[in-house]
């Protein structure tokens, strides 16, 4: 039984460590904030210029001057600081953020990521994604394992324009979890009732399987 979006977010939250500074992308990654383990204190960065992002506001508290990188209204915490976009990306590019969790259209077995453009269709822009994958210490992708038409998204090589080369450290999909190491991906966890063969059939990338799953 494949993981739901909530279960993927919950699994991703297990990568958080106490004291981490974390940037969460738009979509499923945003849900990770709901599953932060007890006793783990993380600080969320929003690349539009905020460290210490709080929850969504109550309706009467929404402030047009206080939004996240997805343009959603949010709130501040008592630890919050604000800064310019240049300072924000100095933080990101300079390797000060511990973990970035973001979505993907495609990931290659070498850790290349494509998540910003489909040629011929409208190009919305990469926003801060290229900076995040280039600068953040650890990059975790959360994605559906296959596209809506069933085609593989975890590939030998990405066919879409890249966001970054050899940048993805971990993939959490609805069928399982891969870590991408120097000599290739390793499947380290399976969703309930999903078999290694299921994963192989739904994956184009070559990968090893962790001993614990054999």
């Amino acid at each position: 039984m494949a993981w739901t979006r909530q279960e993927m977010a919950n699994r991703a939250a297990q990568e958080l460590q106490d004291g981490y500074y974390v940037n969460l992308g738009i979509g499923i990654p945003t849900l990770v904030a709901n599953y932060i383990p007890d006793g783990v204190d993380v600080t969320l960065q929003s690349e539009n210029g905020m460290l210490g992002m709080g929850p969504f506001p109550y309706e009467d508290e929404a402030d047009p001057d206080l939004i996240n990188a997805g343009k959603q209204t949010i709130t501040e915490l008592n630890r919050t600081s604000y800064f310019s976009s240049a300072d924000s990306f100095s933080m990101i590019r300079g390797g000060h953020i511990d973990l970035s969790i973001l979505g993907a259209m495609q990931v290659s077995q070498e850790g290349d990521l494509a998540n910003w453009m489909i040629p011929g269709k409208m190009v919305k822009g990469m926003g801060g994604a290229m900076d995040l994958v280039a600068g953040v210490k650890k990059v975790v992708v959360i994605m559906d394992h296959n596209a809506r038409d069933g085609s593989a998204k975890f590939l030998k090589k990405c066919t879409l324009p890249l966001t970054g080369v050899k940048v993805v450290d971990m993939i959490i999909s609805d069928v399982g979890v891969f870590v991408i190491e120097e000599n290739g991906p390793i499947l380290i966890e399976l969703a309930p009732e999903i078999t290694i063969n299921d994963v192989k059939e739904r994956t184009e990338a070559d990968f090893l399987v962790d001993k614990g799953l054999l």
Binding site: I67, G70, S85, F89, G127, M130, G164
Partner: protein, 235 residues
């Protein structure tokens, strides 16, 4: 030196021309110079190269200048919220240069800081790197990006004094401080104008040297793009 102008039109008088490069602060619709954009629309100048992280929405922000076809080229990181933009771009009526958001922010800072080029890892191996100089530092490959300047920068601040010292509020700061440094002329739109000495000198985000003209904002809409709330717990 009196930097204070009566309104946005007066503040833009004599500094606009067809084909000019304009930076406009803001992230989405947060922290945009609403009055100055309206006056820019009214000016009717054409063939603007606009440097701004986003392109507004169809009927607000820089979207207003797309409606009137005043913009020839955009340099942005994300324009996903604007349908008119999409139409003009696909019809090849509009040039577009995408920059990664951090690269865009740093290029603007560099332009204001007298740095004509710098190296970054961002975009190495992607379309963004094509045609750019590559250089290795400590075994890693970086690409060179160049500084960006503007003929005029339009920024939005929360408080400002008549010397041009500015303070921004929360995430409305975003691209405004760097853009203030990168305009040959910087015009600031400010919610509240105070006398010199009323702002704490340690808390000023943009020193007055960067601001040549300023106005008090009138009738700000401050539109929220994605109102997202949580319910109050039932008591």
């Amino acid at each position: 030196m009196n930097k204070l102008y009566t309104d946005a039109e007066a503040a833009l008088e004599g500094i606009l021309f067809d084909g000019m490069t304009i930076m406009a602060g803001g992230f989405g619709l947060c922290g945009i110079p609403e009055n100055l954009i309206a006056a820019l629309k009214k000016s009717g100048i054409k063939d603007i190269t606009a440097i701004s992280n986003n392109a507004g929405v169809d009927d607000f922000g820089l979207g207003l200048l797309l409606q009137t076809r005043q913009i020839k080229k955009m340099i942005s990181s994300y324009v996903g919220e604007n349908k008119e933009f999409e139409r003009q771009y696909l019809a090849k009526e509009l040039d577009l240069e995408f920059n990664p958001q951090g690269t865009l922010a740093e290029r603007i800072r560099a332009g204001g800081a007298g740095i004509p080029g710098f190296y970054t890892k961002t975009g190495v191996g992607t379309l963004i790197a094509e045609g750019k100089e590559h250089k290795d530092f400590n075994g890693e490959t970086y690409i060179m990006e160049t500084g960006l300047k503007a003929d005029v920068s339009l920024v939005k601040a929360w408080k400002g004094d008549t010397e041009g010292n500015l303070i921004y509020r929360k995430t409305a700061r975003n691209f405004n401080p760097m853009m203030a440094t990168a305009g040959t002329i910087t015009v600031a739109e400010v919610e509240e104008i105070v006398e010199p000495g009323e702002l704490d000198a340690d808390n000023i985000h943009t020193p007055g040297i960067f601001v040549q003209r300023l106005i008090k904002s009138h009738g700000l809409e401050k539109r929220i793009e994605q109102l997202t709330t949580r319910p109050r717990q039932e008591g």
